[in-house]
Symmetry: C2
């Protein structure tokens, strides 16, 4: 039988997993809004961000409360602290999905991404979705091997990020200055989103490896 | 006489103040590197970031240790948790200063910012420096009025950010695509840096107001 304390810890983990799925859905929809030029979907993503912000605040409060009431030490404390950090990172990922959606909305009914670059952005969106899905699974399972895959996926994202910049610089007539500005920022949003997924994966790896080393 | 516990808390505050000064110096130098096209200074900023990252890790460890050993509750615990969050934010501000420096280095000996935009970026740099200086003072003094000034300064930063975008979009021939990309990202780096200073200020306000409400 689990005690109240471990139940509280499990609840926080469940919240993180749910939050990561929510963030993943936001980015997935933001990408569709961007690439299919879908304003309603963009609006939905923009609204959803408030909920993610509020989950983050809840997690900060409930982890602080858990520390105060249960006074965890060693591995347990490290897990609680890591949860707080992971929650802040997920909140930031939600912001980035919102930025993508806002860019789509701002240019509507024009596409923010010029047609020549749509295929690369579609690939970035796919890599982002894959990384976020694995991140959710890693948070639930603490699977170190899967966490490491996220780092490999990030290399792919970095390559795509580089390709977008190269394409932008190779062709002065790729689009308007507006589009160059949008593409530059969108490119950064996806890259940052992926970086954050890696940082979540690394925290989980560190926790598990630390636990193993300590046990 | 202060007990060991409050001494440990004070030490963490001192570390945060020192860290914030270090980050402020990094951004100040990064701006000089950018606007005076000074490669050596850019290199120095890029190297300095490693130290800030390591201070952040130290603070995470020492706050976790403080929680484990001293088991703070209520206001004290909230302060420790806030310190951890503030440290992560300062680390991110250091990253942004490093990004500015890297952009300067990447384009050297060319200026990353076209001459027409240098005056606006000089203003952004000044606002960033002012905000960071106030942030350091707020961390040391917990002065709520000063913390609120940081929020006002941020409005100025948002205006400058808007001006850069407007200037970029108003004139297709402002510079090369390379410069448009650089300017778009630099503009974002300064804006994000200012946002982070605001988030630190808000955390301090919340702590102080919370303390007042609780006492």
């Amino acid at each position: 039988m689990r005690d109240a304390y471990h139940e509280a810890l499990d609840t926080i983990t469940d919240e993180l997993v749910a939050m990561s799925r929510q963030v993943a859905t936001m980015m997935q929809r933001a990408s569709v809004a961007l690439l299919e030029v879908d304003r309603e979907r963009a609006e939905a993503v923009i609204e959803a961000d408030e909920e993610v912000d509020s989950i983050n605040q809840d997690i900060e409060l409930s982890t602080t409360e858990l520390i105060a009431l249960q006074q965890p030490v060693a591995t347990d404390l490290r897990m609680v602290v890591a949860s707080m950090r992971i929650s802040a990172t997920l909140e930031r990922m939600g912001d980035l999905a919102q930025h993508v959606a806002k860019t789509a909305r701002m240019r509507y009914p024009d596409p923010a991404v010029p047609p020549q670059l749509t295929p690369i952005f579609r690939e970035m969106a796919e890599v982002a979705d894959r990384m976020a899905a694995k991140m959710g699974a890693v948070l639930a399972s603490k699977d170190v091997e899967l966490a490491k895959e996220i780092e490999n996926d990030d290399d792919l994202m970095d390559d795509l990020h580089r390709s977008v910049l190269d394409a932008l610089l190779a062709d002065e007539h790729l689009g308007t200055v507006n589009q160059a500005v949008d593409v530059t920022l969108l490119n950064r949003y996806y890259e940052r989103y992926a970086d954050h997924a890696v940082s979540v994966a690394r925290r989980v790896i560190y926790l598990v490896i630390g636990e193993r080393a300590a046990s």
